[in-house]
Symmetry: C2
Subunit: 317 residues, 2 copies
């Protein structure tokens, strides 16, 4: 246990003012420098990351979801759900979601949005040129998938890690891989049939990771920015959180594909590469809790508690 308050100091401090960070000492010996490197705070680790450790997501995989109070940015994961990703691109390109809304918020579970009448043939909004039927894409072969394995496993799969930033589990016996239901992950709502989702009705996890859904539904991506706009929306009535009145829905101004937005108007946003040494160092810092707040470092970090950092490469907030 290191005595310096380096790791997200004062996580549960009484007030912000009580939180201090002690800088690492200058002019140390090689041994001390190595120890300091090991004990860097997440901020120090991130600040030292070379530009090559950051990637700029492909704009053809980015959705800009505009609400009255701000923008949510979602990255699609075609490596897990190529057919759903393609359909979602078409729906965004044709402005399917503009004027629709968030019609379900279930506490500690999901926010769900799209066409609230999608199940009513008489009222449902046309999907335009998007397909009305897609195959289920619950999992894929682990072969050929980029995979940055975490040191700790969990009870849900024998291997967990990240695939280009997306939380991922692998069952090494069956050779299958799937994106896991962590906070901020985006999935495609369906009815009972495996292949009843089209990508038009999407949900975002806003609570404890509902891992029982893993490999039971098609997961299409994750929120890179703007969770704080989705997570505080008023909960609908239990058990499932569908609002009783349309007036309670949160209107969606538009969902656009970043590739359809002029380059000058795109959100400047980069994501830390999960195959980088910087990311591995962040995980080690988390596992070993280099922070005097922690009296007993956990010695582990589980998949859904690991945040993949993003940044504005222009340096603005």
């Amino acid at each position: 246990m290191n005595a310096r308050p380096l790791f997200a100091a004062c996580l549960l401090a009484l007030t912000l003012s009580a939180c201090t960070t002690v800088p690492t000492a200058a002019g140390t010996s090689a041994q001390e420098a190595a120890a300091a490197a090991k004990n860097r705070s997440p901020k120090e680790i991130l600040d030292a990351a070379p530009d090559s450790d950051w990637r700029t997501p492909d704009p053809s995989n980015l959705l800009y979801m505009d609400l009255a109070n701000g923008r949510v940015v979602i990255e699609l994961a075609p490596q897990f759900a190529p057919n759903h990703a393609a359909n979602i691109r078409t729906l965004a390109h044709e402005h399917f979601w503009d004027g629709t809304g968030i019609y379900r918020v279930q506490d500690n579970f999901v926010v769900q949005f799209g066409d609230a009448d999608s199940d009513d043939a008489a009222k449902a909004k046309s999907l335009g040129s998007a397909k009305t039927h897609l195959p289920a894409e619950f999992h894929r072969s682990a072969q050929g998938l980029a995979f940055d394995k975490l040191p700790d496993s969990d009870g849900w799969a024998d291997q967990t890690g990240f695939s280009n930033g997306f939380p991922t589990a692998i069952n090494s016996k069956t050779g299958t891989a799937w994106m896991t239901h962590c906070y901020g992950v985006v999935g495609s709502g369906r009815n009972e049939a495996d292949d009843s989702s089209t990508g038009s009705e999407l949900y975002v996890v806003i609570g404890q990771s509902p891992r029982q859904l893993d490999d039971n539904i098609t997961v299409v991506g994750r929120v890179l920015k703007g969770m704080e706009l989705l997570s505080p929306i008023k909960r609908g009535p239990p058990p499932m959180g569908f609002y009783e009145n349309a007036s309670e829905r949160t209107p969606i101004t538009s969902i656009a594909l970043a590739a359809d937005v002029p380059e000058s108007q795109r959100v400047p946003l980069q994501v830390l590469r999960t195959d980088s040494q910087t990311f591995r160092d962040l995980i080690e810092a988390r596992r070993h809790g280099v922070n005097s707040f922690y009296k007993r470092p956990a010695g582990r970090a589980d998949l859904c508690s690991i945040n993949v950092p993003t940044r504005d490469p222009t340096g603005k907030k």
Copy 2:
């Protein structure tokens, strides 16, 4: 895999109308009855629970936290933090929190409330007859603790389960037990010193369980009712979510000890006993996903994804 949509059917259905429950057939053989019992839905399991499976929490362990839009009910856990529970009772009895507020909301982490000036000796509100110093109560001996063990373990402790409804982990090597940081758990904010919490500044987990805090801070209880009032509160600025302006805080009208409230005005509320067969049956239903929505039952349930049911014994909502 059972073909009936019995288990929280249509969790991520496109609309609520698509969700149906098929009742179990009447007049079945003994074998069929046994199979039906095994395949009961959570609602069927709960509806069949004898009254003796429900407990009425001790009003001297219940806090009523009144916000402008409703009441949050918190159950204290003196078996884990006797000194903090006693201090919190005193603080509530003397109306310490009346007129204070929720001054911090960090997305996917915690809501924190109490006296925002607690760290400023000149401005801090008096704790009245409550103690200004308490011992750290991070863990206790597992000996003598009621413990309803779950079938599945996780990577954080070799045994997990519930102690009178509170999520609990045990390290059987050290013989220690602690309440785990699951959704809705209430802890006592502190500064760097182990023993710097008094119970006046409390936090509630509103996101993915921050298990790295386990056994690093004093946990005092959990929210039994009203999470949907706390979880949607506007997030404060990153990284820690403390509001910049006092006007952004959510006012707390009052926090009262239920024992100080006339019996006729108490919230009618019971909690399912976690040592009951009903609770064990619910866990099995969750582990084996008796629901046609699930194509691949998880075969496990982790501690922080298990909800301990509550009910209004008067039958009202």
